[in-house]
């Protein structure tokens, strides 16, 4: 039971640090650059590239694939990824 409490404490502290990284250390400008600008341009780039190479029929597949990859990336590596 004590071990579980310690683990919960580590979890809570990690949550707090992620919050601090997101809103204090990383700054709003950093958040805009890496969580807005980068994902939008990544999707635009790969969709445009795929459309140029294979035609318009794969545009939705490429957009959804990149959106999934970006979401997974953010979840795994945290707010600065």
């Amino acid at each position: 039971m004590k071990h579980l409490g310690l683990e919960a404490g580590v979890f809570a502290r990690s949550l707090y640090l992620q919050y601090v990284a997101l809103f204090q250390w990383a700054t709003v400008r950093g958040y805009i650059a890496y969580k807005v600008l980068l994902p939008v341009t990544q999707i635009l780039f790969f969709v445009q590239w795929g459309v140029y190479a294979t035609g318009r029929q794969n545009a939705l597949y490429l957009a959804l694939g990149n959106a999934l990859q970006l979401t997974a990336n953010a979840a795994i590596f945290g707010p600065r990824s």
Partner: protein, 271 residues
Amino acid sequence: MNLLGPQRLVVRSLVRAAFSAFVLSVRLRVISPWSYLNWLVFPLLFAIVGLYVLSLPGAGSSHLVYGVLGGGLIGYWSVAYIDAGNGIQDERWNGTLEQIFATPTPLWVILLGKVCGGLLFGLFAFVPTAAAAFFGFHAVLPALDPWRFVISLGVLTLSFFCIAITMAPLFALWRWAFSMINGFELGVYILCGFMFPVAVLAPWAQGVAGFLAPTWAVKALYAATVAQGPHDFAAWWAVTSGLSLAYLAGAYFLYALVEREARVSGELALV
């Protein structure tokens, strides 16, 4: 009395300082794993994916050219703006910024050597990507015009050099500038036409792309590898050179600001 003597000595000492900075930056990049990620791993990944996608059945030879050169261009750009552009930031992180400002050699001379070292490594990015294209996909440049290709690559290098020199004080003065440009990295790939032609973009996006010097040099570079399409090399080289010099003019004021922050207020290391 030979009046040119002292001037010649000064010029020679400046060239020697720039060359020393170049050698040191090359040696640091040889032992840096991050550097290999930038010029070897990252462009190679893009090149392999690009070659796979662009060599699908039915794709034209002009499509494949973007796979052969695109990965190298991406690597070259990444090294130019990240490695070379962080020339002043590196010194701040290493704790050597104050020593550099205390030396009689002007800051731009040291940066000149460092940026040239960065660009040399950026050029290396074409080696693994071209090798992957040739050995992995049996892809070659279909109608290569060697002289125009070399000149276009030289003009592109000039534009990357001017951008790196301009970004160095920009990144040192405002840290968020690097985050923004780093976040917009793939936007640059789109607007400069690294992996597909700018002509496929919306007209407004083509207008924005026109203000970026590498766009025109990349257009010339690709035109030198295919027979079809427009071949206005002189105009493209002139636009690239003009825009690059305009960036340098802007950099002049940024360097003045860096000098002020470092020498007058002494706050540059704290930004």
